[in-house]
């Protein structure tokens, strides 16, 4: 009954989305404020219905209702509660429902915070959002319906893929979708602005909080996915340049560019067409990512339900939205007035530099990801474009960008003074070189590129924070607390986000200094790893709620011989699918980690061990975390929360009081 209720809510939600896609849009174009304002109500109702549908599916998972095909295929009665709950989106249909729910969430968000939006802008934006929602609701209902029943319900389900039975599943997809799908509302704003022909500073202020929110969650989602892959797959890798990873990186790159170009639009009323284009491209790339993940056209470790029919459906949605928005862009962009040129050495010039490099890097990732498809279509040859391609293209394109960040931060608007700005940065740069030299000394040499990367990272962190230090010290040491508090929150936010990028660069560069050892070990044997000693204490079976495991227990001792920890890497076999997975054993010291994974233990007498010492590896994820904290600070900045100044008189007549 509850499942049918959810199914019905989904269909009703589709109908409301169709209403939202037509009436408010029509009202906005015709200048009918009452019809345009209906968009807000429709968006709220649509969200409520989809939340109901989602709750119904969640309920089916929690009570293990195996008469629902989707639950049968992806759940098991013995599964711990958290995975029953997060398993809702651990499969194609459920995750598409989450996708549409988040789409509705952003529409509802705009409806709630719409008081200061002009009526026509609100109607047009929510209308476009309704169009997207209609397309994806149709996809859910007709091609990936999670509410389908089975005539003869089985007693037990087929279980969730064991790799997904991890707290990571509870966090990573929702965050990633919030980011991916969050850009939909920015896209809708851009399309509305094109339809209404109004792109100005007020527009930049309108999209700012939404772009930031999407960007923050996308950053966290990607970082979380990378961290999850690191500890779950047992390879110690954090980024594989897998097509699906690239699919999330591309909108992140253009979304980051959008975040910066919107600042130029807001402050200088320049880069109008470019900002609109970025908004369109960013969401188009999100859609492309959805298509790549769901259609299975590219081989990826993220094996999703490979179904040509679904792929075709999403491809059609993709073509309709990308084609439609670009046609709209081509037709209306020329009507937007350019904001004039500005000096290359200025804050806005630096932001153009940022946009140029981010877009070009995104282009490189795009080519690398889609080239195999193109080549296969043209010649039939099957190729794979792996890490070497991206290391040679995207990475060098990011280096000038990282180098320029501290300088851009110091430049003033309109006319900057590069020499004056860079005076203090020479000190940061020198400290970066010193840091790299110290690393080289500590590690006893090392690859030149990795050392340069560490130097670059240190320069970035110091350069980003130097601004805060400079402002803080202006009133003397005694005043530092008061001065720091007086710094506008957005300046602190920028400094932290840029410092986060620096930390990430250091973490990635430091992977060049990791040590890997592979050994077959019997109980009692020891292995030396960068001064640490690992001793295999024993091998034994472990029983979990829905798996059996063989675990090996290692004691870890530091050079002085003190025992630091017991690590228990294991090999689990899940009962439902009889599928083995690795559990790694990790020991953290400072920002570095000792990481152990074992291979299959066929005879129970010895284990194949893969042991790593990874210096400063945690910086890879702490950096993006700091970036997001910067984003959140910026989102909370009171100065920027002032509503959009009313450019035109409101269309709706105010009642006389």
């Amino acid at each position: 009954m509850i499942v049918e209720l959810g199914h019905f809510a989904l269909i009703l939600g589709f109908a409301v989305a169709l209403f939202q896609a037509t009436v408010p849009l029509w009202g906005a174009i015709r200048g009918d404020a009452v019809l345009a304002r209906l968009g807000a109500q429709a968006a709220l109702v649509h969200f409520a219905l989809l939340a109901l549908a989602f709750a119904a599916l969640t309920h089916a998972y929690l009570v293990s209702d195996f008469s629902v095909l989707n639950v049968f295929q992806n759940s098991h009665s013995l599964k711990p509660l958290i995975y029953k709950w997060s398993g809702v989106w651990g499969n194609h249909e459920g995750s598409m429902l989450l996708w549409v729910l988040i789409l509705a969430l952003f529409g509802a968000g705009v409806a709630v915070f719409s008081k200061r939006l002009p009526d026509d802008m609100l109607g047009a934006t929510l209308g476009v959002q309704g169009l997207i929602a209609s397309a994806f609701c149709a996809f859910l209902i007709f091609a990936s319906n999670p509410f389908l029943r089975m005539p003869n319900p089985p007693i037990e389900g087929r279980d969730l893929n064991p790799v997904l039975q991890d707290p990571g599943l509870a966090i990573h997809p929702p965050l990633l979708y919030l980011g991916y799908v969050g850009f939909s509302i920015v896209f809708s704003f851009a399309a509305a602005a094109l339809v209404l022909g109004r792109v100005d500073a007020a527009f930049a202020r309108m999209i700012r909080p939404w772009t930031l929110a999407a960007w923050i969650t996308l950053t966290l989602g990607i970082a979380m996915g990378s961290y999850w892959a690191y500890y779950e797959l047992g390879w110690g890798g954090y980024w594989f340049w897998d097509p699906v990873e690239n699919a999330s990186l591309m909108p992140w790159l253009t979304g980051t560019a959008l975040l910066h170009s919107a600042i130029v639009l807001e402050k200088r009323e320049a880069l109008k067409t470019w900002t609109i284009l970025l908004a369109v491209v960013t969401f188009s790339l999100s859609l492309l990512g959805t298509f790549l993940v769901r259609s299975g056209v590219l081989t990826s470790v993220h094996a999703f339900a490979v179904d040509p029919e679904r792929g075709l459906f999403i491809l059609l949605i993709l073509i309709a939205f990308i084609g439609g928005s670009f046609a709209l862009f081509a037709a209306r962009a020329s009507a937007l007035q350019g904001g004039g040129l500005f000096a290359p050495i200025s804050r806005e010039g630096a932001l153009v530099f940022n946009n140029l490099f981010l877009s070009v890097a995104s282009l490189a990732v795009f080519v690398g990801t889609l080239y195999p498809l193109l080549l296969e279509a043209l010649t039939g040859a099957k190729i794979s474009v792996g890490p070497p391609f991206f290391n040679l293209t995207a990475v060098p394109l990011m280096v000038p960008l990282f180098l320029a960040i501290p300088f851009g931060q110091k430049l003033a608007w309109k006319r900057g003074d590069l020499l004056g700005a860079s005076q203090r940065l020479w000190i940061c740069m020198a400290l970066g070189v010193v840091g790299a030299a110290i690393s080289a000394y500590a590690a006893g040499g090392g690859p030149v590129l990795a050392l340069a990367g560490i130097g670059l990272g240190i320069f970035l962190v110091l350069g980003a924070l130097d601004d805060l230090l400079d402002r803080g010290l202006r009133g003397g040491i005694g005043m530092i607390g008061a001065r720091l508090r007086a710094i506008p929150q957005s300046i602190t936010a920028m400094a932290l986000a840029h410092a986060g990028a620096g930390l990430m660069v250091i973490g990635i560069s430091a992977t060049a200094f990791e040590t890997e050892k592979i050994a077959a070990m019997k109980p009692g044997e020891t292995l030396a790893l960068d001064g640490y000693t690992l001793r295999l204490e024993g091998i034994g079976p472990v029983t979990g709620p829905n798996y059996n495991a063989i675990a090996a227990e290692f004691s870890l001792r530091d050079p002085a011989g003190t025992e630091l920890a017991r690590l228990r890497p294991a090999k689990r076999v899940y009962i439902g699918r009889q599928m083995p997975t690795s559990e790694v054993g990790r020991y953290r010291h400072g920002l570095s980690e000792i990481y152990l994974a074992i291979g299959e233990t066929s005879d129970g007498q010895h284990v194949d061990l893969r042991a790593y010492h990874k210096p400063f590896v945690l910086l890879i994820w702490l950096g993006p975390l700091l970036m997001s904290i910067g984003g959140i600070l910026s989102l909370l900045d009171r100065r920027l929360r002032i509503g959009v100044p009313a450019r035109r008189a409101r269309l709706r007549p105010e009642p006389a009081e």
């Binding site: 339900a305 080239y371 190729i383 997975t581 066929s602 893969r610």
Partner: protein, 153 residues
Amino acid sequence: MTRKQKRLAMIGAIGLVLAVATGLILVALQDQIMFFRSPTEVVQGKVKPGEAFRLGGLVETGSLVKEPNQIVRFVVTDGANTVRVTHQGILPDLFREGQGVVTEGKLEPGGVFNASTVLARHDENYMPREVADSLKQQGVWKDGKGESKGAKP
């Protein structure tokens, strides 16, 4: 600088960056891509000597041999032809005889494929598309036999 000169300088700089990026991409596409080969293609000699490529197919049942120092040997087949593979390291969790596998490496003079990487998969039913295609060509694979059921989004 006049307005016109500024505009030219801006366009020139953007063009330069684009040119560099295009150059990098083209060079990388020349040198840094890997072809996917089936055992039949390898046996037919389609592989250039010293070329790094991806070899995919099924792990022949009963062919897996584990040797000391984490060296493993197995045979990859597409039903018509076979290639012997050697790899040093720990095999991924989902490596099984009779199932699909994709390996990366180079062919050694003796005709043995030295795999530097054996690719991991996330799902036990998942069949890499290239492997499925090459097996279909040999008539070993039929549609629907190994459909994939859900995995990481």
